[in-house]
């Protein structure tokens, strides 16, 4: 497997990995005097599952926020689909086809599962305000089409039984799944997952793993995810970036990363004898 060249290739389990879809070039992010991310570069290729790992406070979430437009990098550029991305607001990034989930679930608590996932279709709806207000012209047909797409996602994530339940009442694991559904509903080019397994029990973790793999496999969605649970990440991802104290200390296949001495140091500590 020649992962380091940029030619498309096929993985052992038959998934096709394409060219570079998103590239972070020398990203630095400062908050006043605090440097959250220090000169990090890496790329994400079409169709792959890319993980960003690192101990707590390594700057993983900051990186994800840069990718999704919630933070603007102090230095460096984000390239998407071969072009440098101008400074954008988060909703504009979302409209480009980058969907995300949050570490602390950010669902619309008062809305039903169905409605929450429907909001994910907002970027895909294009009838105008007047049509919508008068429920006239395209609006009605559009709602039907999107409703079908959403129902498919609900089936896929096996959450039919909670379609009408306000998400505020759902247990944590299910809320995470609904949030994944909402991000999926946008049919994103890249799906960014911020600690999708955090706070879950073993069974929920296994479910989530399965869904992530299935999403990648069935829809061919490119996925970038953040985790600090090494075990989960190694099984799941094609390539891994390792961060520590805002710096990149490793990048490569799970096997390469596992044997990288710097990574071992960051996770297990260095012995000073």
């Amino acid at each position: 497997m020649n992962v380091m060249s940029n030619d498309p290739y096929t993985t052992a389990d038959g998934r096709r990995i394409g060219g570079v879809l998103m590239e972070m070039k020398n990203i630095t992010l400062r908050f006043g005097g605090v440097v959250a991310i220090k000169d990090i570069s890496f790329d994400i290729r079409e169709g792959e599952i890319r993980a960003i790992i690192g101990p707590n406070g390594a700057g993983k979430s900051s990186m994800l926020n840069v990718m999704s437009g919630f933070y603007t990098p102090t230095e460096g550029e984000v390239w998407f689909e071969g072009c440098p991305r101008p400074q954008m607001r988060p909703y504009q990034v979302a409209r480009q086809g980058i969907a995300r989930t949050f570490q602390n679930i950010a669902l619309f608590q008062g809305m039903s599962t169905l409605d929450n996932i429907m909001t994910g279709r907002i970027t895909r709806m294009n009838s105008n305000l007047l049509n919508q207000a008068l429920w006239w012209g395209k609006a009605e047909a559009e709602e039907t089409v999107h409703r079908e797409a959403v129902e498919k996602i609900i089936d896929f994530l096996e959450i039919q039984h909670i379609r009408k339940t306000p998400v505020g009442r759902l247990p944590y694991g299910l809320q995470k799944r609904v949030e994944l559904g909402r991000a999926l509903a946008a049919e994103p080019r890249i799906l960014l997952l911020d600690e999708p397994m955090a706070g879950m029990n073993v069974e929920e973790k296994e479910d989530m793993c399965r869904f992530i793999l299935d999403v990648n496999d069935e829809f061919g969605t490119t996925i970038a995810l953040i985790e600090h649970d090494m075990g989960v990440v190694m099984d799941l991802s094609d390539r891994v970036v390792v961060m520590d104290y805002g710096k990149k200390i490793g990048d490569g296949t799970p096997d390469e990363v596992r044997s990288n001495p710097e990574v071992i140091d960051a996770y297990l500590g260095v012995s000073h004898d």
Partner: protein, 331 residues
Amino acid sequence: MTDQFLYAIEVMINGLMAGVLYSLVALGFVLIFKASGIFNYAQGVMALFAALTLVGLQKGQIPFAHLINAMFGTDIHYFGWELPAILAIALTAGVMVVLAILIERFILKYLVNQEPIILFMATIGLAYFLEGLGDVMWGSDIKTLDVGLPQGASLWAEQATSGLGSENFYGFFIDKLDIAAALTAAALVISLTLFSQYSKQGRALRAVADDHQAALSVGVSLRFIWVLVWSIAGIVALVAGIMWGAKSGVQFSLSLIALKALPVLMLGGFTSIPGAIVGGLIIGVGEKLFEFTIGPMIGGATENWFAYVLALVFLVFRPQGLFGEKIIERV
């Protein structure tokens, strides 16, 4: 049926009608509070401003006439044409949308992520500014508003009910304007509910109300939604302004109807559209019935304070209101 009982029913019906008008004002508050967590102190003044603009446009008044006259020594007041009511209403709605855009552009944009109290203070400023602007633009004299709404007693209601009581009972007195207001309010609420439940923007609006970050992540532009919600609130203010203005003339006291909306909101809950409606009706009926039954025993004039006392009692037993979201903190 005794006459006394019939009178009570009549009072109740009139209370319901008055309640609808309270609901209209409360509705504007709820819309903005739901979408942006701002208690918009300026809602009443917006109704006044909308009514002033409507009358001004309809009568062909020249905006800022007093100012222009004072500065240039001219004596102009009217353009000399009058607009049909429907056109004037459409134009005024347009003005309210422009106002919403300006509010977002010059106030809200700079106050993103601020404490609610700061946003509240900003709307107090907005209220005084709009009050002054309305005065300077259209003059401070009391104006009559006539957009062709039916007025006076409904003969139909009177005749249909006159046979119910004894000879001294002449049938129910119901103002046609109140009926028109009730129907308009009902239409407004139904369309707003449908819009917010079944349309893309409506869903985006609820999304913003629920969680700003999450809304951004699914591609909702907060600024657009704020303009949208302030526009809708502006148009609701216009409707309230038309109804109250037609009832009691367009003058400064119109802006004080906002104070009547407060007990309605406490009763119905700050975040519920049905709450605003039901709250308004309860206050309307409550104050009229209280005045009718208890009023004479304690010297009358209870309508001035009854709503507030009722709201106070509610605050003690159900602080989130009838339909408001109960706030539960998980420990």
